[in-house]
Symmetry: C2
Subunit: 173 residues, 2 copies
Amino acid sequence: MTTDNSNSSSTEFSDPIDAVRPDDLRLEKFLPYRLSVLSNRVSNAIADAYSARFDLTIPAWRVMAILGRFPNLSAADLVEQTAMDKVAISRAVSILIKNDYITRSEDLADRRRQVLNLSPLGRDVYDRIVPLAQQYENDLMGSLSAEERGQLDSIIEKLMTRAQDWANRGLID
Amino acid sequence: MTTDNSNSSSTEFSDPIDAVRPDDLRLEKFLPYRLSVLSNRVSNAIADAYSARFDLTIPAWRVMAILGRFPNLSAADLVEQTAMDKVAISRAVSILIKNDYITRSEDLADRRRQVLNLSPLGRDVYDRIVPLAQQYENDLMGSLSAEERGQLDSIIEKLMTRAQDWANRGLID
DNA sequence: TAAAATTGGTTTCAATTGTAACCACTGCTG
DNA sequence: CAGCAGTGGTTACAATTGAAACCAATTTTA
């Protein structure tokens, strides 16, 4: 019920704002901008929560989130799973090891690889951080209807694919 | 259906998380994570385009986007319009002045303020950048149906509001 | 009307992040 | 096998970003 001002999607300007040049860009309606603001707000809030309670950065938390589900991964495996790059992983891992949240052991079969796992302490933290994360997620999702949640899911998927295409081939024009 | 019976506002944690291990968290379904990945992909692609063609960073571009629509703003006005902070604005402005994309003049009424405007060159660049930005936006939106575009608009609005609430009051728990 | 507090904006310094170079090891090719 | 390309991971260094201190002009207030 709160939702509607009329259909705000299309591009009609009957603006009161006199003499708006036809091709001005309205930043506040520009999707890349809005995504960026939204994502930053969300990430900052969560980053604060994690760092205050567990002394964890977001990259480090991501690594833990993956290791909690999938034991015995290497750094390279983490790169695959997290959309983070090698360097970020390497730094996150070294922090986590310093905190005794994860353990690192050599892979005997391939002495370049290191097998990573949550330590008992790390598992502990993981078990406490996951509900916190879920709380944030639920709170966020709680502002949407069940229907909207479904829509959002599929919309993000589509946008993600398109943006990925850009990275691969660039914007075609 | 799944996620809520608790009205999102309330503060009840009656969770029997005593002996029960929390569910694993699936990072790839976690909204904050997905937003972050999506936003980064989009921003990076666009940042590359801008910097390659106009030697502009995203913050600088944002400042131009606003000044193109609203002349005679001060840095403080820009802070209001862009969700960027003072420092970022100050840096963007100084780059833009160095490039001769904008002009800065003293406000006689208040000698702390500086009135900013696009220079003729800046207006020129603006007129070329806006269509490029719109092309990206259209391409992104092109992956959605008209209906989805409307849904996305209102969903973002809601999420934005919720995330803003966090910033103000923190997650209530 | 002289402090004191506020506002506009910049500078400084530390922390974060990205890029490239790098070392150690593996695996292939000849 | 020797040599060389590729992989796993870290290090070094530059660029970006954020937080706090700061200067100058303005407003408040006692």
